[in-house]
Symmetry: C2
Subunit: 226 residues, 2 copies
């Protein structure tokens, strides 16, 4: 028995692009345009401050069309969060490539360099996480908040798989949580922390400051766990 008041269903996750014979180029689907625009807006404003109308403007479409593909703002945000965290996760795995042979000092240094390089080229994931991690009281939490918590657990698992460590689970959890907390704040909210130091977030001096901070804090810990 069908629901009587159902709409025509939009494509949940069809082809992301299709060939446009007129322009002779790949035309991104509306759904993809929406997710991309949403990820821009959600990387500049926390969930409650971002609006569907902002996203529509960013995507250059009329805002109710967003509701056609994503019936609720919460659903759209969750999708953005999912894609964002997945993107970060895949990158994080790669930053560990070939590190084991370098030893802790050089290995950690290269890892941070790769991390910072990613944050500069793809600022959105860290910003979205930083903007929405701390938002409101527990009772009315951001949609998809469990994804943000999962992010920390995933990061720890990635570390454990990539680096052979001796420490206890607690120790490893503490180190990775502290590392990710600092990294999210300093790279995802660089505007604020660089401002405290009187610098610009893309200023190499600030990035050097971030690397030194993370190194001072984490490297001794890491050596102890190896």
């Amino acid at each position: 028995m069908k629901k009587s008041n159902q709409k025509s269903q939009p494509p949940a996750s069809k082809n992301e692009n299709h060939y446009d014979e007129n322009s002779g180029s790949l035309k991104t689907s509306t759904r993809v345009k929406i997710v991309e625009a949403a990820s821009i807006v959600f990387s500049n404003f926390p969930y409650y401050a971002a609006s569907i109308r902002m996203i529509g403007k960013e995507a250059q479409i009329d805002h109710p069309l967003i509701n056609y593909y994503f019936p609720t703002k919460a659903g759209l945000f969750q999708e953005v969060l999912r894609v964002t965290i997945e993107e970060y996760y895949q990158a994080n795995v790669q930053w560990f490539d070939g590190l084991a042979a370098l030893g802790p000092e050089k290995g950690f240094s290269l890892y941070i360099d790769r991390f910072i390089d990613f944050a500069l080229k793809h600022p959105k994931p860290m910003r979205i996480i930083a903007l929405n991690l701390v938002q409101a009281k527990q009772s009315d939490i951001i949609p998809g908040y469990q994804l943000l918590q999962q992010f920390f657990l995933d990061a720890m698992q990635t570390f454990i798989k990539a680096v052979p460590v001796k420490g206890t689970h607690i120790d490893i959890q503490m180190m990775t949580t502290n590392f990710n907390t600092m990294a999210i704040n300093y790279l995802g909210a660089g505007d604020y922390y660089a401002g405290i130091l009187g610098l610009e977030p893309q200023n190499p001096e600030y990035l050097k400051w971030v690397k030194e901070s993370l190194t001072y804090i984490i490297l001794p810990w890491l050596k102890q766990l190896l």
Copy 2:
């Protein structure tokens, strides 16, 4: 020459309380009630998610009365921020009392204990700071944001005055900034970070986790600077 369209001016900062002969007790002024209610709401919701109507409900007054004492939401928030940061600042100074004689290990341990004790008894200041530190893109920033930045500078100055250190300005700035970043996140946004660890924010196990994290991270640094 007077402005022709001015309102009657509310008391900017008169007596905070006055004796009520009917009840025979100290009656807190409406202005104080508003600031207290606002600090509760602003410690549960970031600036843009908090509303004047929430604050009116919390203070048990009609919400337009808030506009009588604070013509704009931004002004009220700045006042809350000013009071909040002042309260934290005064407390911070006291946490250093008698620490110099204890040496770095015991001194740092006691400092953290005092800090955590304060955060448990007065959770609002850290929460307000944590909720509003990272909020939106630089262009439309939280009102009174410079107060939040000043908070970090004040904390560093307090440390320098209280503890005789040898390190360079840069080193001290790095250590105190890192310390305050972690403290604000872990104590001001305990709901979120405890959640990642599968704990409750008031759980002693979580507080022990916070103390250990801060100790592992900051103590070696501190020893080096003394």
